[in-house]
């Protein structure tokens, strides 16, 4: 094997036959810090400082236009007794679960379809991913008009096929499922693209063996396709989960959290608290709790992702 010279940031070292062993990495030379400092400044200024300030604000009673005072953990202690917060908390979890599961299922099915060869496949793929590229507020405006119980096209179409008109986002019991429909419509294509990447990476040999063994189409999907695209599905779940938890624009533009508070998620509630009531202290406490929730759920999905990994010859469950 030819010697390969690796120019590293620590100086030129030679790897390969006859090369001296790499020394233990010394500490960065002083002048290298010049390259690190700008990045560190940005991270500290736009991530660390705002977070520390948010934590500080959450420990104070502070309404804009008035003075502020230190209240310790009082804002956090208020949260469990605030029905609007607890309801928003549960609603956020329900909304996020639906907005993850449905696009995952539909996106996987769509990927299986678009993985096949058929006429106009490329064009139809382009059409299918179009919703993903639309602006959320534009989507919200169009869907709000379509959902209008009196003038909207959806009820007109339902009536054509003999189904009773629905109230969609204009009724407390149907507002969350209706919003999930919009979310699913917009983000199913993203899941499809991720899964398509996974499908393209699957070798043909397992399917040939399965054919010889007489496996059915479902058995091939269950025992070959699904395990082999599982890492890709986990990536899709992580992206969708974080996105669904943070969802704000479409809900705000379509319902503003209504009717009543029926579609008010944590995100909307903290926005309302901080920027409509100007209760900065309490709004910050909600933000901190929401951040912790996102971190915990993300860690949980990352843990699952780590358990579902490619191993020699396939996917291994750790």
């Amino acid at each position: 094997m030819a010697d390969v010279t690796l120019e590293t940031g620590l100086g030129a070292k030679t790897a390969g036959e006859g090369a001296e062993p790499l020394p233990v990495q010394p500490a960065l030379r002083p002048h290298y810090w010049l390259f690190v400092i700008p990045g560190m400044i940005v991270v500290v200024a736009v991530i660390l400082v705002p977070w520390v300030f948010t934590l500080w604000m959450s420990l104070h009673e502070w309404k804009l236009g008035g003075s502020y005072s230190f209240v310790g953990l009082e804002n956090y202690l208020r949260l469990p007794g605030d029905p609007r917060f607890t309801e928003a908390f549960v609603r956020t979890l329900v909304y996020s679960a639906l907005a993850v599961v449905l696009p995952i299922i539909l996106g996987t099915l769509a990927a299986l379809v678009f993985h096949q060869e058929f006429p106009l496949r490329g064009f139809l793929r382009g059409v299918f991913v179009a919703p993903m590229m639309a602006t959320p507020v534009a989507i919200a405006v169009v869907w709000t008009m379509m959902f209008n119980p009196q003038l909207g096209v959806l009820n007109y179409l339902l009536q054509l096929i003999g189904i009773k008109p629905q109230l969609w986002i204009f009724e407390a019991s149907t507002v969350i499922p209706s919003l999930v429909v919009v979310e699913t419509w917009q983000w199913t294509p993203l899941v499809m693209l991720i899964v398509l990447g996974g499908l393209a990476a699957i070798p043909s040999e397992p399917y040939e063996s399965a054919d010889i063994d007489g496996a059915s189409a479902f058995q091939k999907f269950r025992y070959i396709t699904l395990p082999m695209i599982a890492p890709f599905l986990m990536i899709a779940v992580i992206i969708r989960l974080i996105d669904a938890l943070k969802s704000f624009d479409i809900i705000f533009a379509m319902t503003q959290g209504g009717p009543g508070t029926a579609s008010e998620t944590i995100n909307l509630y903290l926005y309302q608290t901080a920027f409509a009531y100007f209760d900065i202290g309490y709004g910050s406490a909600i933000t901190v709790v929401f951040f912790v929730l996102i971190i915990l759920l993300s860690l949980a999905t990352l843990y699952l992702r780590a358990r579902t990994q490619w191993a020699e010859g396939g996917v291994a469950e750790r």
């Binding site: 309404k63 804009l64 236009g65 109230l167 209504g258 309302q272």
Partner: protein, 439 residues
């Protein structure tokens, strides 16, 4: 004079071609407008007919004064947040600010974010002789004054009134209602869901629904607070008003009205699907626009019917003021004075984009002659002004009030009992109010 520049005479001559200018013979006559020529001010305005009008004509202000204007015009909700955050920072980026009095009056007063404009109003070198405080309607003065002095200038008022579909009324042989009982009966009689027609439409969405509810509550001679500032939103009159609200929106309105804001209500009315719509008078122009309305020429504009005790049109309004932190207060004052002038007020009224608080604008025959909206609309403006009453309590936590009571009202649309819901909402809101106003 340099070529291309504009003098006061040019402004007068140019604008004088329109009927508006007939109403302002003495405009720009007494003040040294050029005192600050060459300076620049920043304004922060609400996107909408009022803010757009000021931005559209700001070059005339520059021509008049030599003061450059840079306007930031942003949607209402975002503007309200932005200005509060900027003002609370102590270093706002603007010298003139557009204020929603019905939401922000008390907050701005308490925080002392605005500079008093009374000293300017009494300064003959800076103020037109015809610009007097008593030219503003009583609602405008209530909104803009603090302890007798003006904290801002009242700009535009919005009265709640009834838009009604004359064709649908005629078909059923029904006259425009004069009191709440007749209103309910008319809505019931006109409600025809089998043919896709509802008798009444209005806001059901939380927060947005408060002005509609207040239209009924004020008719019972009560407000959200009593004279001492105590919350009485769960009192018997409030419950009766909620019952009317609930009845109209559950028995006579389109399905799904619980999620309707003014936009959905307006769409239903302009498509000819609702016989009556109770909302702000400022939403009128699209109704007479054939590209946006199917009932052009068929809309009646009615003063809100009388309640059992009182006849009151809930009133909301906005104004224009100068941040206390501004370093260009006199330039800003010249702008504010121009913004609420008879010229600009006349333009606002004539376009139908709003109703100025100044009586001398509303009452001027020449200005009235140039109004593009139907005469009935103008009559409704004038008559509503006579029964005008502030539509929301003047407290700091007014958004919480709208949210909490609004949620209770929306709940009644799903069948909840008005008394129970209002009691619950009052119990929830009372500590917030007391903490804010009495601590």
């Amino acid at each position: 004079m340099t070529k291309g520049s504009l003098t006061r005479r040019h402004v007068l001559a140019g604008a004088g071609a329109g009927a508006t200018m007939l109403a302002i013979p003495a405009a720009w006559a007494d003040v040294d407008y050029k005192k600050y020529a060459g300076s620049k001010i920043e304004t922060n305005l609400i996107k909408g007919p009022r803010g757009d009008l000021l931005q559209k004509y700001e070059k005339e202000f520059t021509a008049l004064t030599g003061i450059e204007v840079n306007s930031e015009v942003i949607p209402e909700q975002q503007q309200r947040q932005k200005i509060v955050i900027e003002l609370s920072s102590g270093r706002p980026s603007f010298d003139v600010v557009h204020i929603s009095f019905h939401v922000q009056k008390r907050l701005f007063e308490r925080a002392k974010w605005l500079s008093s404009v009374t000293p300017f109003m009494t300064n003959a070198a800076l103020t037109e002789a015809d610009h007097k405080g008593d030219d503003y309607s009583s609602a405008g003065r209530t909104y803009a004054t603090v302890e007798g002095g003006f904290n801002a200038l009242p700009w535009s008022v919005d009265y709640f009134m009834v838009y009604w579909n004359k064709e649908l009324f005629q078909k059923k042989g029904i006259a425009y209602p004069t009191n709440f009982d007749e209103l309910i009966k008319a809505a019931e009689a006109l409600h025809d869901p089998a043919n896709g027609i509802s008798g009444f439409v209005g806001r059901g969405l939380r927060n947005a629904n408060l002005p509609l509810y207040m239209s009924f509550l004020l008719g019972f001679g009560k407000d959200a607070l009593d004279e001492k500032g105590n919350l009485i939103i769960d009192g018997p009159e409030a419950v009766e008003a909620a019952k009317i609200y609930k009845h109209l929106l559950t028995k006579c309105a389109p399905a799904g009205v619980a999620g309707f804001n003014w936009m959905e209500s307006q769409a239903s009315f302009l498509q000819g699907k609702s016989a009556m719509w109770l909302d702000g008078i400022g939403w009128a122009p699209p109704g007479e626009d054939p590209t946006r309305s199917r009932i052009v020429g068929k809309i009646g504009y009615g003063v809100i019917p009388k309640g059992p005790v009182a006849h009151a049109s809930p009133t909301y309004g906005d104004g224009i003021g100068i941040p206390a932190a501004s370093a260009k207060k006199e330039q800003a004052w010249l702008y504010c004075q121009w913004a609420v002038s008879r010229l600009m007020g006349g333009r606002l009224l004539q376009s139908g984009g709003g109703v100025p608080f100044r009586n001398s604008v509303i009452g001027n025959k020449d200005t009235q002659a140039g109004v593009t909206m139907p005469a009935e609309w103008l009559t409704c403006v004038i008559e509503s002004a006579k029964v005008s009453k502030l539509g929301l309590p003047v407290v700091v936590p007014v958004t919480e009030f709208r949210d909490i009571i609004g949620t209770a009202l929306t709940a009644t649309l799903s069948g909840a009992d008005p008394a129970t819901e209002l009691k619950k909402a009052a119990d929830q809101y009372r500590p917030i109010l007391e903490k804010s106003e009495k601590s």
